[in-house]
């Protein structure tokens, strides 16, 4: 099994293929890999080009610990071989990659579920904050109730936005 850190918070970009290869390396029990990449949109409320930059802030120490706990929970709920999360911070541009979640398992069902669970969890429970730059100036992004509802499907009461 790969011995890279399970959680990385970094300014630098990441390479999906390299991360998948690192997680699969040497594990013949893996039959399924599911990866999610979140990217920076250039628009808000359907206005293409309205967002010119995105800044991401986190809570060093707590953010890593919160995501580690999420990965532990994902392993308890699903039959996973491995999981990795990378989240970028700092100044990003439209089209940049923000977040990567990669999950491996013996069969596809557990990978799909584990990957979606980790993303739903991360959206409402990991301390990150986005600030977007628009023609009207910079503004902090509002939390979405839909993200709380997404986590609720897994049996967690999230009250981030509400």
């Amino acid at each position: 099994m790969a011995d890279t850190p399970r959680v990385r918070i970094q300014v630098d970009d990441f390479d999906l293929s390299a991360e998948v290869a690192a997680l699969r390396r040497g594990d013949g029990g893996v039959g399924a890999v599911c990866a999610f990449v979140g990217t920076v949109r250039d628009r808000t409320a359907g206005q293409p080009g309205a967002i010119s930059a995105m800044e991401l802030e986190h809570y060093p120490g707590m953010t890593e610990r919160a995501i580690e706990a999420m990965i532990d929970e994902a392993h308890r709920r699903f039959d996973l071989r491995g999981a990795r999360v990378i989240h970028r911070v700092g100044l990003l541009q439209p089209l940049d990659q923000i977040v990567l979640v990669v999950v491996t398992s013996a069969h596809r069902g557990e990978s799909f579920k584990g990957c979606e669970f980790l993303m739903d969890y991360l959206k409402t429970q990991a301390p990150f904050w986005k600030k977007e730059t628009t023609p009207d100036g910079a503004r902090w992004v509002d939390a979405r109730v839909a993200d709380d509802e997404a986590l609720a499907r897994w049996g967690f009461a999230a009250s981030n936005a509400g």
């Binding site: 120490g61 919160a66 990991a126 904050w129 981030n160 936005a161």
Partner: protein
Amino acid sequence: MSSIRLRYFASLREALGPGEDAPFTPGLTLGQLRDQMIARGGRHAEVLARGRALRCALNQQMADEASPVPEGAEVAFFPPVTGG
């Protein structure tokens, strides 16, 4: 003198700075600590106001306002999270 370390993030950090110390009071809850900071007035009263949706962490774990704040704790106040 023992104290509590307060940390702020995102819009709160912009208004109040990255953090400050507050005196430790036995039995004080996170919610009461928030009220104490609101009572300072000015920007504190504005950004920590009860009408604002805020979340808090105690020693780097999400916590609710009923949680007691232990001596030497690290307390963080911040807006709802928006990562991913």
